[in-house]
């Protein structure tokens, strides 16, 4: 019983890897469709040296700088706006409809328009990343403030809190866990969006790497691109979870 999780989990991973290896090594599936594990490893080695003029690190930097500027702007605008919308009804009445109009449009749909408006350079991609990240930031801040327990507000008022103190010392700290987890989701969304944008048009970045692998019939390069994207996505998420633990010590973390 104690080892069931480990054994069954390990079993399924081993079976999958073995199936991948057998299917590719025996040539049941063409190398062009699914690269073998060794081909992927070989591509990884080749890429760390440099591929089409840039190493993995260059691609990482290219994707990351766009993500961080677009995401940073989304946090700086989305979180305060969401808080204000939840706190002050006039702000909600004015900006609520704008959110309702723009929210149903999926972030990838903005990619061509961004190219049209800003060209294929970094500005366009930063804009799309911004669009994809602002919604989760704004919504989670809004919901977090709306869900502040009314009792806490009452308690603070009886202790003599002014409206400003209520917002900054009660509502925002109370909403903080939700705000931070919204920021984490936004980062994941920003990452997925930059990958999408690079798949459509780019000269560097992991999405571009996958696309150039696709164009040159090198499925192993594509696989390396996807693995790199997954690892970075995982790392960003894990980092954020650590930050949450540190920044919100009053919360139970499983």
């Amino acid at each position: 019983m104690r080892y069931e999780k480990l054994i069954l989990g390990g079993l399924s991973l081993i079976v999958m890897l073995a199936a991948w290896w057998v299917v590719t090594a025996r040539g049941i599936v063409s190398e062009f469709l699914l690269p073998s594990p060794s081909a992927v490893f070989e591509a990884l080695m080749r890429l760390s040296g440099g591929y089409m003029g840039s190493s993995l690190l260059t691609h990482l930097k290219a994707s990351m700088s766009v993500v961080l500027s677009g995401y940073g702007a989304a946090v700086l605008i989305g979180v305060p706006l969401g808080i204000l919308m939840a706190w002050a009804r006039p702000v909600d009445i004015i900006f609520g409809p704008l959110v309702s109009i723009l929210r149903p449009i999926p972030p990838p749909a903005w990619i061509p328009l961004a190219i049209l408006w800003f060209g294929i350079d970094l500005t366009g991609k930063t804009f799309v990343v911004f669009v994809s990240a602002i919604t989760p930031c704004l919504i989670s801040a809004y919901v977090g403030i709306k869900n502040v327990p009314p009792d806490l507000i009452s308690a603070a008022r009886t202790l003599g809190a002014s409206n400003v103190a209520l917002l900054f010392q009660v509502a925002i700290p109370s909403a903080l866990p939700q705000i931070v987890s919204g920021m984490r989701i936004a980062l994941g969304s920003a990452w997925a969006t930059i990958v999408a944008a690079e798949l459509v048009v780019a000269t560097s970045g992991f999405g571009f790497l996958i696309m150039s692998g696709y164009r040159n019939f090198e499925a192993n390069i594509m696989a390396v691109g996807m693995i790199a994207i997954a690892i970075i996505g995982f790392a960003m998420n894990a980092l954020f979870l650590e930050i949450e633990k540190y920044a919100i010590p009053w919360r139970d973390h499983e």
Partner: protein, 268 residues
């Protein structure tokens, strides 16, 4: 959005009914858009007026672009979306329920999902095109990978979070484990399952648009194709028109699921 419970200042206009307020707000933003275009004399190839976008959409219903009129593109997009979405539901929900109910199944499948969890669904698009060709199948696959995880997770959590008291009560009444799954677990988990459908819908719709855009002009149908054609021909009117259409159709699908949600959660 709902009213703040502790807002001391309530201006007069806040006493208007909410739908009217939202309508006024939406109208206000559209007018602002319009005003900006006119005041700054923006070229329609960069940012058209709302009226020009509406005109474009209306003319699209009779003047085809690519392989058909607006109805053809909207129809193809919806069809691709539904095939990926329904496939994900047909596999994700039963698997999620089983993973929640039978421990070995959980331990067997969990690591696989953990492994693929951090790959954004859209990143599957190139491989998908490689495997299935730039066609219906490749887009269905991308939508499937996007819609599956939330549906599976919700079904799984729905079963895991069933009140153990309910299960024990059923057991003392003499129910077997199959009966418990179908007569207790499933109804109790249903609201979660439907919530998962709604999340899967949003993810799938997003992935559809991404897949259609990434597939490029190799496929001559779909709303993503219209967006792309607009960009390549420097016709912002077409691009924005197609975006509006995507927003509206996505919102309609969401509305449909919400109706189901309300029905399912009646006893809650």
């Amino acid at each position: 959005m709902s009213e703040s419970g502790f807002d001391p200042k309530r201006p007069v206009f806040s006493r208007l009914p909410q739908p009217l307020l939202t309508g006024l707000g939406v109208g206000g933003w559209v007018l602002l858009w319009w005003a900006i275009v006119i005041v700054f004399d923006v070229s329609p190839d960069f940012l058209p007026t709302p009226w020009q976008v509406a005109e474009k959409l209306i003319s699209l219903t009779t003047h085809p672009i690519g392989e058909g009129s607006l109805w053809v593109h909207a129809g193809w997009s919806s069809l691709r979306f539904l095939s990926g979405f329904l496939l994900a539901a047909a596999i994700g929900i039963p698997l999620g329920l089983l993973m929640g109910y039978i421990r070995p199944v959980r331990h067997l499948f969990n690591p696989l999902f953990e492994l693929f969890r951090y790959i954004p669904p859209i990143a599957w698009a190139p491989f998908s095109i490689l495997w299935f060709g730039a066609s219906f199948g490749s887009q269905t696959f991308v939508i499937f990978t996007a819609a599956l995880p939330p549906m599976l997770m919700s079904a799984y959590l729905g079963i895991r979070l069933v009140d153990p008291g309910l299960i024990n009560a059923a057991r003392t009444l003499g129910a077997g484990s199959t009966t418990i799954l179908f007569k207790v677990g499933l109804p109790a988990a249903l609201p979660q399952v439907v919530a998962g459908l709604r999340m899967g819908l949003a993810n799938g719709w997003l992935a559809l648009v991404g897949a259609e855009i990434i597939a490029g002009p190799g496929v001559l149908t779909g709303l993503g194709y219209l967006i792309l054609v607009g960009q390549q021909n420097l016709q912002a009117t077409l691009t924005i028109g197609a975006m509006v259409l995507i927003g509206i159709i996505g919102a309609l699908f969401d509305y449909g699921i919400r109706r189901v949600e309300d029905k399912v959660a009646r006893w809650k």
